[in-house]
């Protein structure tokens, strides 16, 4: 049986959503056969040199990294194995669990996997003694509460998923 024909692409999409195939007829009368083509994959994702950060979150620790070169000593709130300023290796350091909002936003959309979590807040947090920032989720506050400079504190998931979402920040009460 020939698939149903549509002149609206939206109707084509709906037919595909119903599990069928479709023929789209464009303004010049050209017919295009359109089918679904699913694609799923399970990645084997190693955190590799970033692993101690994610293991730290599971212990309620926020770990950054510090350049080992004395004259550089850059402290990264988002850890990295080598210093981007001087290229030296870094060592792990504990970050304070309190910081301030460097910037923030409320997302009313997200990619497909996160749509069900909307709206959610993102924040770049700055820490005393660190030269770079950390991007995190910000909870327990809304658009009208947030401002650049707002003091925030870290919360950790007692049931860690080994994801950056194992830590989030909330306003300091």
């Amino acid at each position: 049986m020939t698939p149903p024909k549509f002149t609206s692409f939206r109707d084509v999409m709906e037919e595909l959503d119903r599990g069928g195939n479709a023929i789209f007829i464009d303004k010049s009368g050209v017919e295009s056969l359109i089918i679904r083509s699913p694609y799923a994959i399970q990645y084997i994702h190693s955190y590799a040199e970033d692993s101690p950060f994610f293991l730290g979150l599971a212990e309620g620790r926020l770990r950054g990294s510090k350049c080992t070169k004395k004259s550089c000593a850059t402290v990264y709130a988002t850890p990295r194995g080598h210093c981007m300023e001087c290229g030296s290796p870094t060592v792990w350091v504990d970050l304070p669990t309190r910081g301030r909002l460097h910037s923030w936003t409320t997302c009313h959309f997200g990619s497909e996997a996160f749509l069900k979590e909307t709206p959610y807040n993102l924040a770049l947090v700055e820490f005393e003694g660190a030269d770079s920032l950390l991007l995190v989720r910000l909870k327990d506050c809304t658009e009208s509460d947030c401002y650049v400079g707002m003091p925030v504190t870290a919360k950790f998931d007692p049931n860690p998923k080994y994801s950056i979402t194992d830590v989030w920040f909330v306003p300091v009460p």
Binding site: V30, C107, H108, G110
Partner: protein, 506 residues
């Protein structure tokens, strides 16, 4: 193929061509002297670091280009046919420019995920019948098209090719919008950034909230002591001014038949459109598209065979920055010729508010082109306005105004056209039109094609042929002699700037 039959004129084939644009001379070139028995003798040319980035390669000209209409979906064309359509448009009416004259290609598309066809560039090469000529596939996030253009430039400048086809495309309609956003966000750190929401608009929102804090809260609203209230007012002000950019680009696009979303909007329409990520609304953000664009780049010796209106590429620049916003440093501003260090005594740069890669790319391209005052020396710019915010941030990166002046620059109207009526005053309109085509916000953003689309629109501006190609001359910048194109990848992690100049006397 580089066949023996090719005519290589040793005499100047450009009777009327401006041979030595004074701006393009390699400044800083000095003659090193060394002592010999016979005394001081000129030995060799030594180049200072300032001149090192200047082209020592062959002159490169763009001779034609083509684009497909950008659309939400082109179900009747796959990527191969889209490129073929743009290619046919480019070659139409140039009898001397046949497939056998093309020495090789540079082909760009951003995402294998979107295309769901690896080595899609090979299939384009194949479909155009270009085998077995040389080709390289380019990918650089949002700057993919801009990089492809520069790769084509380099193929010719290096002497490797006399005629290079630079072609780019993207087919983003093969997945639903929010799956598409996921693919785009996979171009952010998948350990630290992606799992937070996988949403690029969120990243740009973080950047503009800080930009507004630095440049509106701390200036215009410095007198308000309640921090929340001051920032709320500053964001409202920033959002209003960003909306001017959105109105401009959508209105300009009413005169561009290739644009995906031409429309007449008011500032209030833009502000009232759906909130996507605070404070960015739907009308301040570009969309996903299907589309293709091609540019044909040539050496000086053959360009005249194809057109008597060649456009020369006089400057190319690229810059980069950290993938993660969180890693952006807080340092000093690399200065434009007109800026002083004292202009930015208290500014920590780039932070997350500005695009250091855009500044670096602009500086390199300007230096190569000999440009010291872009507002006066460029007649227009097609820049990467994936967000209305990033258009304003880019005005500053490219030195059209100082850092912090982008909002005032917009309000004064400098980047607006004189030939389009906007629903608000634009006293300085025509000073340096930005995105006369409508930019990404109104034309769409089929990633791998976008940077090449800018090249084609700039090419038509410089040839004075906008009316011929658009069927409407409204967007033609009068006497456009030199323009810039700017292509930008995720949160400013990579940027290209290319400067194009009329290579003939009108």
């Amino acid at each position: 193929m580089a066949g023996p039959s090719r005519v290589r004129n040793s005499i100047d084939p450009f009777g009327k061509i401006i041979k030595d644009a004074p701006l393009a001379r390699a400044e800083g070139t000095t003659l090193a002297r060394s002592k010999t028995k016979t005394g001081v003798r000129e030995r060799k040319v030594v180049r200072s670091s300032r001149s090192r980035s200047q082209s020592s390669g062959r002159r490169v000209y763009m001779v034609t280009g083509g684009v497909t209409k950008f659309a939400k979906a082109h179900p009747a064309m796959d990527f191969r046919l889209m490129v073929r359509r743009a290619y046919d448009y480019a070659l139409k009416g140039i009898p001397n420019l046949t497939k056998d004259r093309i020495d090789g290609t540079r082909i760009s598309y951003f995402s294998d995920h979107f295309t769901r066809q690896l080595k899609a560039a090979s299939m384009v090469q194949d479909y155009l019948g270009m085998n077995p000529k040389g080709s390289i596939r380019l990918e650089w996030g949002g700057a993919t098209g801009g990089e492809c253009f520069q790769a084509g430039y380099e193929a010719v400048a290096s002497g490797r090719m006399d005629v290079c086809l630079a072609a780019g495309f993207e087919t983003m309609s093969r997945v639903a919008t929010w799956k598409g956003n996921e693919f785009i966000a996979l171009a952010s750190d998948t350990n630290f950034d992606f799992p937070l929401g996988g949403f690029y608009t969120g990243y740009y929102a973080l950047m503009v909230v800080r930009h507004i804090y630095e440049y509106i809260r701390r200036t215009k609203f410095a007198h308000i002591t309640d921090e929340r209230e001051a920032q709320r007012q500053a964001v409202a002000e920033g959002s209003r001014i960003m909306s001017l950019v959105s109105v401009k680009n959508h209105l300009n696009a009413l005169h561009n038949p290739y644009a995906q979303y031409p429309k007449s909007l008011s500032v209030q329409d833009v502000l009232n459109s759906e909130m996507i990520s605070y404070p960015l609304t739907r009308e301040q953000i570009c969309t996903m598209s299907d589309g293709a664009a091609v540019a044909v780049l040539c050496s000086e010796s053959v360009a005249r065979e194809f057109t008597d209106k060649p456009i020369r590429i006089i400057g190319v620049g690229t810059g980069t920055d950290t993938m993660r916003l969180a890693d952006r440093p807080f340092g000093k501003v690399p200065l434009m010729p007109k800026e002083k260090a004292s202009d930015y005594t208290h500014l920590e740069y780039p932070g997350v508010h500005s695009f250091r890669a855009g500044r670096a790319a602009g500086l390199e391209a300007y230096r190569m082109a000999g440009i010291t005052d872009p507002n006066r020396e460029l007649n227009f710019i097609e820049l990467h306005d994936a967000y209305a915010s990033s258009e304003i941030q880019t005005y500053e990166d490219l030195g059209l105004c100082k850092y912090g002046e982008g909002y005032d620059f917009t309000e004064r109207g400098d980047p607006f056209l004189t030939s389009v009526r906007y629903p608000f005053p634009t006293p300085n309109a025509g000073a340096i039109p930005v995105n006369p085509s409508g930019g990404l916000i109104a034309c769409g953003h089929p990633v791998g094609a976008t940077g090449l689309m800018q090249a084609v629109f700039a090419f038509w501006q410089l040839q004075g042929s906008v009316k011929k190609h658009f069927g409407d001359g409204t967007l033609q910048v009068k006497n456009a002699h030199r323009g810039a194109i700017h292509s930008h990848a995720g949160t400013g992690s990579a940027v290209t700037v290319s400067i194009l100049e009329r290579g003939y006397r009108p």
